[in-house]
């Protein structure tokens, strides 16, 4: 009985001090953080229930109302086929989040696995992994993405792959550095001394230590991944029309910059705000977790 109540007390204390709660509290106390988080939640709603938010059908053309400016019927106006731009922007949230989130999480996952193992085991394996990172980082990010597109072809998923690939070495480097630091700490040495298996030490004792850095970098990379993805779509390497991807919409809206500037305006605002929300949230998380994590 005594033991179990002691365990309960210990559990309760751990819950109160859990890092996740601490971070959430800090973010909640920052108005920019709350606003960013709210906007991102709204975007997720757009992805989950686009039909509820968007007033018009995605594909239905209306040739009587082409290139109309913003108004009561069409909040953001209509495009060259008379399609409601507001509805298309709402439906397009899916593609932007897909590119931003999936590519960064996939890249961060692979990068973290490579970084932790390279930092922990060292030796030839580490050398090979780090040289491979050097090669990937020898190209400015956008150009590496274009090179990969040139190899695997265009399309939304290929943009995700391209952005993920250039995210990998960034995480590998950071996490490897972190791992080497943690590896030499006393508690890891103790874990090794009592004979724990390497896999267990990595999973239980090293990986959690790299999380705070990883979370901040993930949030900050999402913004730049969204920009890169939209830029790739804009030059025609990503989603093709009539997909309502924001970069693609901007690309076709560019043709009406003189007669109907609103066509390019709203998808641009959408990209800008989404990217801004992730960047502000990243700043906020960085302040909450550790002010020393570099830009």
């Amino acid at each position: 009985m005594e033991i179990s109540s002691a365990a309960k007390r210990k559990n309760a204390r751990e819950r109160i001090d859990s890092p996740l709660r601490r971070i959430l509290r800090k973010v909640a106390s920052n108005p920019t953080g709350v606003a960013s988080l709210a906007f991102i939640l709204f975007l997720i709603l757009c992805v989950a229930f686009p039909g509820l938010i968007a007033p018009f059908d995605l594909a239905a053309p209306d040739y009587d109302h082409t290139l109309e400016g913003p108004g009561l019927a069409h909040l953001f106006g209509t495009d060259e086929y008379g399609r409601d731009i507001f509805s298309r922007v709402i439906h397009g949230a899916k593609y932007t989040l897909q590119i931003g989130l999936i590519s960064v999480f996939a890249g961060a996952f692979v990068g973290t696995v490579l970084g932790v193992t390279a930092g922990y085991y060292g030796g030839l394996y580490e050398t090979v992994v780090m040289r491979a990172c050097d090669v990937l980082l020898a190209f400015p990010g956008m150009l590496l993405a274009i090179g990969i597109i040139a190899l695997i072809g265009t399309g939304t998923w290929n943009v995700v792959i391209a952005v993920a690939v250039y995210t990998v070495p960034i995480f590998t480097r950071i996490i490897r550095g972190n791992t080497i630091e943690l590896k030499n700490l006393v508690y890891v040495e103790a874990a090794r001394a009592i004979g724990l298996k390497d896999r267990w030490i990595i999973l239980r004792h090293i990986l959690p230590g790299t999380f705070s850095v990883a979370i901040v970098y993930i949030t900050m990379r999402i913004g730049s991944a969204i920009l890169t993805g939209a830029a790739l779509s804009f030059v025609g390497f990503g989603a093709q029309p009539p997909t309502p991807e924001w970069g693609t919409m901007l690309s076709s809206g560019r043709n009406y910059v003189v007669t109907a500037p609103h066509v390019a305006l709203f998808p641009g605002i959408a990209i800008f705000l989404t990217c801004l929300a992730f960047n502000l949230l990243g700043d906020c998380l960085r302040d909450a977790l550790d002010s020393k994590i570099a830009e």
Binding site: V135, L143, A150, G223, L250
Partner: protein, 307 residues
Amino acid sequence: MLSYIVRRIAAMIPILLLVSIVIFLFIRILPGDPARLVAGEDASAETVALVRAELGLDQPIVRQYLIYMGKLFQGDFGYSYRSHKPVAELMANRIVPTAQLAFSALIWAALVGIPLGVFSAINRGRWLDRSIMVVSVSGISIPAFWLGILLVQFFCVRWGLLPSGGYGGVKNIVLPSLTLGAHVVATMARFGRNSLLETLRQDYVRTARAKGAREWQVILKHALRNALIPIVTMSAMQLGFMLGGSVVVESVFAWPGVGRLLIASVTERDYPVIQACMLLFSFTFLFINMVTDLMYAIINPQIRLDS
């Protein structure tokens, strides 16, 4: 110091070799026969065989790489699959416009961004700092191609002040340069602020204040001079990232640079041109990073002592 420079340059060689191998393999792992592509769709079997021998494609792969590298050193980048012109000829006129764009953007961005960061740090926590940081985080989040379209909207369509694209006069470079530099200004303001705040926390700054130096003296003479070391390095590094940004900006403003050539080549699957562009961009990028490191070592005595 000299030994540091030599070691830094020597460390580059394996990376350059690896990058060149990857770029060389790039064209080989693609489906399709390069000789057929060079000779053209309706060339006879003999012509294709001749082209294959001429390009050295019948040789073992290691030899092919050596031939490729040998030709690179002679300025031979192969032939375009589309226009069948030498790639070097296609690239030659493109390098200067891209360099002009990148340098002009870097210069105005540094002249605006660094002082913004300094003002922000000096006024830490006040409204000036906050507004500069709001502008800065917006600058980092704004899509360059959209900014370009907005600038065209105002400066060309509404006010008729500047051309919407093209190359030649001073007026042509203003909008592309503004667009490309926006992101850099924002980055520099943020980085400059952090760097100066970091230095202002140092002991020698407290000493300077304690001995009664005026605030502007403390900032200009003691803090800023040291804060500038990472800022200058950072600025040089931005030049490398602008190579990536230039690709998009060039295609918005029809700027005849390497970036636009690359986009067109990817669209047309003109692999030798893609290969050459990637090689040029990555080597320039690596070169800039190396020069940045060396510059950092030159202006920061600590690095020299450590090495």
